[in-house]
Subunit: 343 residues, 2 copies
């Protein structure tokens, strides 16, 4: 049955995939995304406003760090922390629920100069998972820590620890309960001998992620990604966000990248590292490389999602095969651009 | 302190790295490794015999599956299961201990034709983690499951479940107790005001992995990797073995790859996917690509380890910057080669 479900999801997703990319923005020092967001039809003026305000605060926080002499790593962490603290994004405070009714968070961060990286997966008590990922990178000899071991490490490092209930928000709780209700109704009909209902299509709002890429005055790139995962995911499921090479990668010879979308596809296609490889070994631009991966490879496979890429010369590009992508960037001289759908 | 430890380890490792690669073996249908093994100085005739016998059984098991019409995926799983069941390899039964005195196992598997993949990390009750990884790939909509969620999934799939004590073997227990004893002595000396002792160098036998790559009669590649991780690893630490793109990758357009060694470096350099990328986008041979990654990039970074690569034409190559690598392969006509050090 799981196999059928999987195929069904892929087909449903494939039918809807669009193909889009923004024009390259030059002289960017910080770019961010807040996930592929909701479909146009679900968008309300209030939600639109809340998303744009959140992206703006995140850009301003990261930019302030850069102006105060901070590194690209500092800017990435600062921008992501802002989004983690806002319930509107699926990361930190606003994390979605698993099928067990828990919130399990993942994050990763990487530095382009040293290729050092840190990540945590399946944590339940770390208020800002991106800071947990950075602590793994800087304060442990490991790259990836998972589960209770990762929570315990974060506590030993003195990071802010919260009860798991901190991540339980009203709107995410309602989203998971709606799914459970639909599942229960479908089961009831099946049990009563009725025809099997078609699988409920995955709503875009069920998966989301936040991420950031930055280039500092020393020419060093950094990237980071943080997520609550996929609504109703199996407890223990980990997507691409904490996987170096999938959801996050940074290499000073090419670019810093953060991805969002249907994580399983991003792992299988090693999307972040694939973009870096095409830039380094095929000589493609950030725009052409991300377009090839997101709008050709992933689109053909039925994998919905997006990437943001900042190359070593400050060119910022986004590519997405979804209807929208919550995204923004700020240039060296402080100009902010924020977008949600094709504009 | 962790930061100092990390730097110390890197320096110690760097000093010892060698550079080696075997000649390409053609017409190979199955290649395997059993980790970078022990240093020559630690090798005994008994251990040598046990390793070679284990590698031979694994090759024979996978080859039998191929001859019975099985796929490359079947051969990879069969070969790895044999090694998981033998206490001599650090995977399955012979898994090393964490610093909490537990055994936490990781594995992944990938199919080159479809780029489907499955992985589990931090499991404690799945007798054959490689079969757990394959179940995630084939029976769930996810790619990576971790911790208790992964154990529960394997149980629901009807896989063989064992008590955690199954993985507690005499020689691995002794290894961890020796480390704890040395650590306690060092602490005692420090507490008594003595000079800090130099960090104990990482023994090769502290990290190990098993892996397999195969090419079937349909021209399809597959790769898999399984491990108990690193002796004395922090509970919750995950290395490259379950990370698609790091420890394992398969792409019918290039090659199937399995890696072993100091996993943190293999994640940061996305080693398996980097080898595939250099083959596809730089046009390098499997030998030149793996040599560049293992013997240049990783060696320069101080990352000890090895890769085995089987390309889509049946060329099998191994590269390692360690003293040895437990490795073997079998050709279409059944000829077996097994090696431990440079031979």
């Amino acid at each position: 049955m799981s196999r059928i479900l999987f195929t069904g999801m892929v087909l449903l997703t494939m039918a809807n995939l669009t193909q889009a990319a923004d024009k390259v923005v030059t002289d960017v020092v910080l770019g961010i995304h807040g996930g592929i967001g909701v479909d146009k039809i679900e968008m309300t003026p209030e939600h639109d406003k809340e998303v744009r305000a959140g992206l703006k605060s995140a850009l301003e926080a990261g930019y302030a760090r850069l102006n105060a002499g901070g590194t690209s790593l500092d800017a990435v962490e600062a921008a992501i922390r802002v989004m983690e603290d806002l319930p509107v994004f699926n990361a930190g405070k606003g994390a979605v629920f698993t099928n067990a009714g828990t919130n399990e968070l993942d994050a990763s961060i990487m530095e382009g100069k040293t290729k050092k990286a840190g990540a945590i997966a399946g944590v339940t008590t770390v208020k800002n998972p991106i800071t947990g990922a950075r602590a793994v990178m800087e304060q442990s000899k490991h790259v990836l820590l998972i589960g209770p071991g990762a929570d315990a490490f974060a506590a030993r490092q003195g990071l802010e620890i919260v009860p798991p209930s901190y991540f339980s928000t009203e709107h995410r709780r309602k989203a998971i309960e709606d799914i459970w209700k639909r599942e229960a109704e479908a089961k009831k009909k099946r049990d009563a001998g009725g025809a099997a209902l078609p699988e409920t299509p995955v709503k875009k709002s069920q998966y989301g992620t936040v991420g950031a890429v930055s280039l500092d005055r020393h020419g060093n790139l950094a990237a980071g990604t943080s997520t609550g995962g996929m609504t109703n995911k199996m407890a223990g499921r980990v997507g691409d966000s904490p996987i170096i090479g999938a959801g996050t990668y940074a290499d000073n010879d090419a670019a810093a990248i953060s991805c969002t979308g249907h994580g399983e596809f991003f792992i299988r296609y090693a999307v972040s590292h694939e973009i870096v490889s095409q830039m380094k070994y095929r000589g493609l631009s950030a725009a052409d490389a991300s377009n090839d991966v997101i709008n050709r490879q992933l689109k053909n496979a039925g994998g919905e999602g997006a990437s943001i890429v900042l190359d070593r010369n400050g060119n910022f590009v986004t590519a997405y095969n979804s209807e929208g992508l919550y995204r923004g960037c700020i240039t060296r001289d402080g100009k902010i651009q924020i977008r949600i759908f094709e504009e």
